[in-house]
Symmetry: C2
Subunit: 203 residues, 2 copies
Amino acid sequence: MKETDHTIEAKILNAAENVFQRKGMDGARMQEIANEAGINKALLHYYFRSKQLLFEAVFKKAFSLLAPQLNKILNDDSSVEDKIKNFSFNYISFISEHPYLPNFIISELNRNPNFFLTIKEPHGFPRLDKFKKQVETDVEKGILKPIKAEQLFMNIIALNVFPFIGKPLIKSITNVDEETFNALLEERKTQVATFIIDAIKTR
Amino acid sequence: MKETDHTIEAKILNAAENVFQRKGMDGARMQEIANEAGINKALLHYYFRSKQLLFEAVFKKAFSLLAPQLNKILNDDSSVEDKIKNFSFNYISFISEHPYLPNFIISELNRNPNFFLTIKEPHGFPRLDKFKKQVETDVEKGILKPIKAEQLFMNIIALNVFPFIGKPLIKSITNVDEETFNALLEERKTQVATFIIDAIKTR
DNA sequence: ATTTAGTTTAACCAAATGGTTAACAAAGGT
DNA sequence: ACCTTTGTTAACCATTTGGTTAAACTAAAT
């Protein structure tokens, strides 16, 4: 993991990232973040006024890592089939490097759904429009079986994201160890796309 | 919602359920639970010794609602195809009545993966064995395309559970309102099964 | 009627927590 | 050199929080 910067602000942000993503907003302690950053607790408040603001900074940074991944599938120029293949492969690789990310985003979003409105404005927030038209066209052409873009999108995200979020549950039920589970994830990099395409393509 | 019982203990458990499932272990406050149960805070500790124990009671109760749903798909005698159809339909109906349940279980499991070991012992904890053999047999027979039972299981759970957990995210990106989102969920009761079956069945 | 056991409450407590303050150090401009 | 701004810290503070206590109430048993 290459630390982006060694300014104090970056050290704080990194430490906060770790703590918040492991413990969530409510479980995180400012003191723990300070310790992990190797600084005084008052300095946290000097750089980021409050826990809430520090949390928002972390959340926005996290989401700004995820957003481009989503945009890739939505606003690309490639075919639906290629999008599914690329997204599944890249996403699973990407998240394997940031395993806390999906659970963090989704948990905190459930804790406070309204908070999302704050973020929707600035950078390239993912929008479905283009993907939607593409799917509708392909369905009309008879390339794809009839399916709403929203449903297909939900399915793609679900199949790729859920294994990371549901990992403890799945590991328990399927009774596999860490190593085997990771092997399953590796396998999914290609299998998920095949699964989806088999489900939607006419022949 | 028919309250199961009006004994104090049940009132506490109900209140704790609401608060814990809304705010999580860390975000929940004993005082809030007491208020919601309409009793004194000390009484919480009289019935359940600590916050931790009260939480565990709530978690176990919640999981004991989910477990039979999972067992249905795992230990049933019906065909793989029927299992997928029944599970998808029933699960989405069931969760629509308990919308906080999946997020609660999964979030808390991620917060403390070890905790699950406590629960694994007692009642019918879901096991994959039977379903696994069934899938392997069907693959050998050529009824199903080659797929590991673990992967298929993950896919089924992902497609059914994720929309509830990822609701805030999905609603934002697809830009649909509450009503439309619920309509999509309703549609999924049958569409998810079709999607899966199209993906795995040979023809 | 009195004891006894279980139930319920108000008041209390120690620890933890987010946040502040005031003093001090470093750096930069003049 | 001197002063102003910015960065950093230890000590402190008010509030919140999970948990306790001791007393009061209730109802059944003796």
